[in-house]
């Protein structure tokens, strides 16, 4: 029962609240404390002791870097390899080679262990070994019960150093990729995100997508060459966590990767994404009762000096239940279930700023207008002291959740080195957030948000819109290719 607050706020409530008030005491410091429940608005807490957990960094003789964090609570071990490789390096006529190589690497077995044998052996042990290659990194990872670590690690090393790219498994991966291309227009949300990315990164490797022709042009030899080019010790960082013995693990890694040759680094040049101040309105026709709305423009990279002020601004504008976007578009107006916005600080290139929502066809233009005007509102006036404090408190106080699991800790530290984050990034993070002022938030909003230069993508049934999309400017219609 927490009626005291009411009494402070309005004496008029007293008559209605006497039953409550008699059981409530204003503060909880006096006795008998056991019977008093504190007010969440004014509650105070004991201090929290927290120190950023550190993993150990070791370099093997061959140059491979290993991050280690032992945790013996559970009898399992997780290991992830990070390699600099990715679809940003795909040749224009073979778009899809990185992701296809990533899929075929694990499924194609090794020169010593056939794909079938590898599948059987791993699954019997309940070990997993998987590979994937994304836009700017390749991962090969394993998870295993401690008792099967030695064998699983040996298979991991075989896969890293001597993959076989079994022809049948390569073809299987290719057919799966072709089916995925056939299905790429099934989900309106996926269409909208893809088209926004293409609009923000025109003709850039970050927005290119595989086609039937490019996937068919990729050969097994291409994959072998791709793997050989990027997989070598000096291009690899490992993150290992869990129930392992440090000395034994390092000894095993030295032995397993002893003969793995290094290569000269050779990464294709990738152009910086172009700054483009022009607005665009794109529409994709789909006969659905809800429109998907996406808008955005080129944003920032991780080294941006205003990163922390932008994080605070992001939180106030589009992060979580308390954001301006959610409060107005969802909570006040009931126009959407999902609405948010964020800067994705690019790790190698500038990442995008994106805002998104979905609303019934009949409120499409209303919601898109509101979204844009709330974004623009950030550039017009300073945020309130209350908004600033909430954002900063939330970011600072929830910081510890990045370190709640040992596998998360060790992977985070490996990624900091892999992407070349500045020294002290984590250690200084909370202080940097704490320094952000209302003036900073307005300054970065004006500098980095460009509400008049956004690419707007709407996927929906234009016959049912509340107004034509042309209210936002000249509309370019995107026709979805039917892939046979």
């Amino acid at each position: 029962m927490k009626c005291m607050k009411r009494l402070f706020l309005t004496i008029g409530a007293l008559g209605l609240m006497t039953g409550c008030a008699s059981t409530q005491v204003a503060t909880t410091t006096g006795s008998p404390a056991a019977l008093e429940n504190a007010d969440p608005r004014t509650m105070t807490f004991p201090p929290l002791t927290f120190r950023i957990p550190r993993s150990e960094r070791v370099q093997l003789k061959n140059g491979m870097v290993v991050y280690l964090l032992q945790d013996h609570e559970l009898p399992i071990v997780n290991l992830t390899a990070y390699l600099n490789a990715g679809s940003i390096y795909d040749p224009a006529d073979k778009v899809g080679i990185a992701s296809l190589t990533g899929a075929s690497l694990r499924s194609g077995g090794t020169k010593a262990t056939s794909p079938d044998k590898m599948d059987r052996e791993l699954e019997f042990m309940a070990s997993s070994l998987e590979s994937s290659i994304g836009a700017d990194h390749a991962n090969v990872s394993l998870a295993t019960l401690t008792r099967n670590l030695d064998r699983t690690l040996a298979l991991f090393a075989e896969l890293m150093t001597r993959p076989a790219f079994d022809q049948a498994r390569v073809e299987l991966a290719r057919m799966q990729a072709i089916e995925a291309i056939r299905r790429q227009n099934d989900d309106p949300k996926a269409i909208a995100s893809r088209e926004l990315s293409r609009a923000i990164y025109p003709d850039h490797p970050l927005s290119r997508i595989p086609t039937l022709a490019s996937v068919r042009a990729i050969t097994r030899d291409d994959m072998i060459a791709f793997q050989e080019r990027y997989f070598y010790p000096a291009n690899t960082i490992l993150a290992v966590s869990g129930d392992f013995d440090r000395e034994k693990l390092l000894k095993n890694l030295e032995t397993l990767f002893a003969g793995w040759p290094n290569r000269a680094a050779s990464f294709p040049a990738v152009p910086e994404p172009k700054e483009d101040a022009s607005a665009a309105v794109l529409h994709v026709q789909k006969e659905v009762n809800q429109s998907v709305i996406r808008m955005g423009h080129l944003g920032i990279d991780k080294s941006n000096p205003d990163l922390h002020a932008i994080k605070v601004m992001d939180y106030i504008l589009g992060g979580g239940f308390t954001s301006r976007l959610t409060q107005e578009i969802r909570s006040n107006q009931g126009l959407a279930y999902n609405v948010d916005s964020y800067f994705d600080p690019g790790r190698r290139f500038k990442g995008p700023f994106m805002a998104e929502t979905e609303t019934k066809s009949e409120s499409t233009v209303k919601a898109a207008t509101l979204l844009r005007s709330i974004i623009a509102g950030m550039t017009l006036a300073e945020v309130s002291e209350k908004e600033l404090k909430l954002a900063k408190d939330s970011i600072i106080n929830s910081f510890i959740f990045g370190f709640a699991r040992s596998d998360a800790v060790v992977n985070q530290q490996a990624r900091l080195e892999f992407y070349g984050y500045p020294a002290g990034y984590l250690e200084n993070y909370r202080d940097n957030i704490a320094r952000v002022t209302r003036a900073d938030v307005l300054r970065v909003a004006r500098k980095y948000l460009h509400p008049d230069a956004m690419k707007l993508v709407v996927v929906g049934d234009e016959k049912k819109f509340d107004a034509p999309l042309s209210v936002f400017g000249s509309v370019r219609e995107i026709t979805l290719d039917q892939v046979k």
Partner: protein
């Protein structure tokens, strides 16, 4: 002989490991029941100064009457809106407005239900009046104050979800903030105020459009499940049909709330950097005085045996997708464990039978999976989901699946297959404990649907005793045409 003895060794090893895990979890979970019936499960883990706190109410969409469909889910949203003290500037001044809103909204619904005979002018007047009252009431609202308080105190992952079986509220907090959790959650349990009800209804309609109407796979799922059940509420969509949502009222929601959202229907799991004795004292202090509500009565209706195949076609703007379901008993029935084995035999990993046959050998599908759904408190379905690969059709994939199901009836599972499954379960037991939230989820889920979290400990031992004959018997009994429902997307 050699091979045989190797397996005996492995089996012995894994049994002892199972016991070790069981004892590990059994030792670490501390149970406490309050006098008002609320169950508290705690696991102290000091990996980081964080705590996951989950509250599960044992009331879900199967517990709705036909005029309440969608209510458990809408109520889940509404319980974010505050209490008599939180989320409001002045509840005494706000309350009369909330009552006027309710009366007006009910009049509006009644008029709308006259359909063609509805009075247009009256509808317009009521809409306008409702808008005016909502704007007026808005003045008293402190927006999303629960979320605000949790956020500023470092709460992460604040959310809730509703299923056929129950409703769960979850949050992760720094471990020094547990009193905040106790204060907010006890207030929510006792003093919830369903303000902004008719605006939130619009949000839920958008959620429905987003997840089901405009999402081809969501639409298939909803239609397939609804068609599979003639009588049991397991078939009705948790979110409700659009017209169900439109006709829910705050009055109905409050009736549901006050009956069931009470300590005797609640299970809490608190996992992380805690001291159990202090946690018990905290929970007693904040929740101990909350009176119990009505126990959730069992759903009486039983799904009549199906007497022929049911087929559900969804014609849509998407490539084909296939679901095949068979009615089956739910946990902890002995046959349910056999289905767990069948599930893993058929679809768990690259060596599983359906993956090998459909994806690798015949290349009819790009993926195949199996699971039990849509709920676990009442008999449910064993469902196989496959994505056909062009130019292969739904019916080709379907036939290939049936061939494998026939094989299960006649070819005994090998000892090695069973051992692989036990090894996989052993790994899962450990990996589910890797996060505080994962463990809290499993503890609340199984305490609620299986009657005890100890299901987690006993599951692998039960599976270990399943014989090849059990698998053949269950396959013969359940994988029949009569017992089958098939759902698929046909591209427009």
């Amino acid at each position: 002989m050699k091979i045989l003895s190797r397996f005996i060794v492995i089996l012995a090893l894994s049994f002892s490991a199972a016991t070790a895990f069981g004892q590990g979890l059994a030792d670490r979970v501390q149970e406490y029941t309050l006098e008002n019936g609320m169950k508290l499960l705690m696991v102290p883990r000091h990996t980081s100064p964080t705590v996951a706190a989950w509250i599960r109410f044992k009331v879900g969409s199967v517990d709705e009457r036909s005029d309440e469909r969608g209510l458990a889910h809408l109520l889940e949203h509404m319980l974010f809106k505050g209490t008599k003290t939180l989320g409001t500037r002045d509840f005494a001044a706000e309350k009369p407005l909330l009552d006027q809103i309710e009366a007006t909204a009910q009049q509006l619904m009644a008029e709308q239900l006259k359909r063609d005979q509805a009075d247009g002018k009256e509808l317009a007047r009521l809409h306008k009046e409702l808008d005016r009252l909502e704007k007026e009431a808005e003045k008293y609202v402190v927006k999303d104050e629960f979320a605000d308080l949790y956020s500023r105190n470092g709460g992460a992952g604040y959310n809730a979800f509703t299923s056929k079986d129950g409703t769960t509220y979850l949050i992760n907090l720094p471990s020094n903030k547990m009193e905040l959790w106790a204060a907010i959650e006890s207030d929510r349990m006792r003093n919830a105020v369903l303000r902004e009800f008719y605006t939130e209804m619009k949000v839920v309609k958008e959620e429905r459009r987003r997840s089901y109407d405009a999402e081809p796979e969501g639409k298939l799922w909803e239609s397939f499940i609804a068609d599979a059940f003639n009588a049991h509420p397991n078939g009705q969509p948790t979110i409700g049909w659009m017209s169900d949502i439109e006709n829910l009222t705050r009055t109905k929601a409050e009736r549901f709330l006050h009956k069931y959202y009470a300590p005797n229907n609640a299970i809490m799991a608190i996992v992380g950097d805690i001291d159990p004795q202090q946690t018990i004292a905290l929970v007693e202090k904040y929740f101990g005085a909350i009176p119990p509500g009505t126990p959730v009565p069992p759903v009486a209706v039983e799904e009549p045996p199906q007497s022929g195949e049911k087929r559900t076609e969804v014609i849509g703007d998407a490539e084909p997708e296939l679901m095949i379901g068979f009615h089956k008993p739910t946990l902890p029935a002995p046959d349910d464990y056999v289905f767990d084995v069948i599930d893993m035999l058929l679809t768990n990993g690259r060596t599983s039978r359906l993956y090998k046959k459909l994806v690798q050998e015949k290349q009819l599908a790009t993926s195949v999976s199996a699971f039990a759904a849509p709920g676990s408190r009442y008999p449910n379905l064993f469902i196989i989901n496959a994505t056909p690969r062009a130019p292969h059709t739904v019916s080709e994939v379907e036939s290939a699946i049936y061939q494998e199901l026939e094989r299960l009836k006649t070819e005994p599972m090998t000892q090695k297959e069973l051992q692989q499954i036990l090894n996989q379960l052993e790994f899962q037991e450990s990996s589910q404990m890797a996060s505080n939230g994962g463990l809290a989820r499993n503890l609340t889920e199984y305490e609620a649907v299986a009657g005890s979290w100890r299901y987690l400990i006993e599951h692998r031992q039960k599976v270990a005793s399943i014989t090849p004959a059990d698998v053949m018997r269950v396959a013969k009994q359940y994988f029949t045409r009569e017992n089958r429902s098939v759902g698929f997307i046909t591209k427009k």
